[in-house]
Symmetry: C2
Subunit: 257 residues, 2 copies
Amino acid sequence: MAGTDKTRAESTTEGPAIILVEPQMGENIGMASRAMLNAGLADLRLVRPRDVWPNPKARGTASGADVVIDGAQVFESTTAAIADLTTVYAATARPRDMIKPVLTPRRGADEMRSAVRNGEKVGILFGGERAGLENDDIALADTVLQAPLNPAFSSLNLGHAVLIMTYEWYQAADETPPMQLPEGRTQEATKGELVNFFERLESALDECGFLHIKEKRPIIVRNIRNIFQRAHLMEQEVRTLHGIVSCLTRTKSDGEI
Amino acid sequence: MAGTDKTRAESTTEGPAIILVEPQMGENIGMASRAMLNAGLADLRLVRPRDVWPNPKARGTASGADVVIDGAQVFESTTAAIADLTTVYAATARPRDMIKPVLTPRRGADEMRSAVRNGEKVGILFGGERAGLENDDIALADTVLQAPLNPAFSSLNLGHAVLIMTYEWYQAADETPPMQLPEGRTQEATKGELVNFFERLESALDECGFLHIKEKRPIIVRNIRNIFQRAHLMEQEVRTLHGIVSCLTRTKSDGEI
């Protein structure tokens, strides 16, 4: 029962089926499963896996993505594995002499999102560790997915290839704002609070003689204000800075008396 | 000497240093190295790795990314590992109570590209497998990088976390056109060649009686033309279709006579 609850909590969604054709290492199947659940995907299909399935090594590297491992289906052929899909993509790094459109994973993910929104069922084929997809498997796909990578070293680990696609699938619906500051109990300081601190600091600096050259004072003050300005201080941080000034001036007086 | 040539061929470029803080498994260090070289990066730094370095397991999973493994530097502290950098990012999935900007890997990669263009040296901190980065390490960073992922299952494998960042780094400079068709000896068919085939097919269909209902003929012809129109046929494929029609009509005649 705990397992069932966990499965529910892992919030999987409709998305592309991940189809591994002749995968060899259980570790890679597990890593692919983990990458799938990281992106909320759970439809894993294995075509003629080399080792017996279920594979304990796969469960190990899946690191808790049991919902993917437990739901994986095994097929005898690629055609059987894709029979219920309307659009199939083939992930391959090697250019082939095939007349087929080639998309980056990013563009492919956009296309898949549209297709799934329209009720289509899509899937992505990945080849085994040794040689990738065979031409006959690629011929079954509508579109080739090829990640732009270092042309001198473009061969991806199988789990990594799956991650790039599942990650892009998740990003295609992401609405994270350009930059976030963590929500907390503290707020960004107002300009009033900032200027209040500036004046307090400058009067302390006047007292200790740091700003004693009259004609240089405005430049130095401006420079100091710019430093703190750039820091986008929080209310709490301004309070901390006040405390620092208090403490430093107290120590100094103590030392001098 | 062969090694030197290979290194050169692997075309690494200036980019972020990848700093693994207390990594545990050699396999993950190797996978991170492979992901780095997939994106043309080679500056790997290890802070207090659990196992002895060099680590043969790392070289195994690096799958030929020897230039990264051989160049890796080991440090006693995070501060020592980042001493020469101007901007440091911390990759972490866990939200912290720290007042620090948070970027997605994609935005972060854009920012890093600008920084590197301006001659800055940047780096990305990744925590160990068990608990990720400690707060003291995150405090050393200017910006937190957090990948939007399934909130119910967001913990990434270490190699996968590195891949997401190095992949985004590479994509930030990618100029792949939206859709590519593979270059080949064959060309897209002209509309003339297409219409020539249409008329040939339709006359064959007239002969065999498929289009015999006069008032329906225009609709059926239009439907058939649309099917082939949508396929964006190549010259060679039109020739193949001509061959198919020839063959089918020949067989039929043979069968009927």
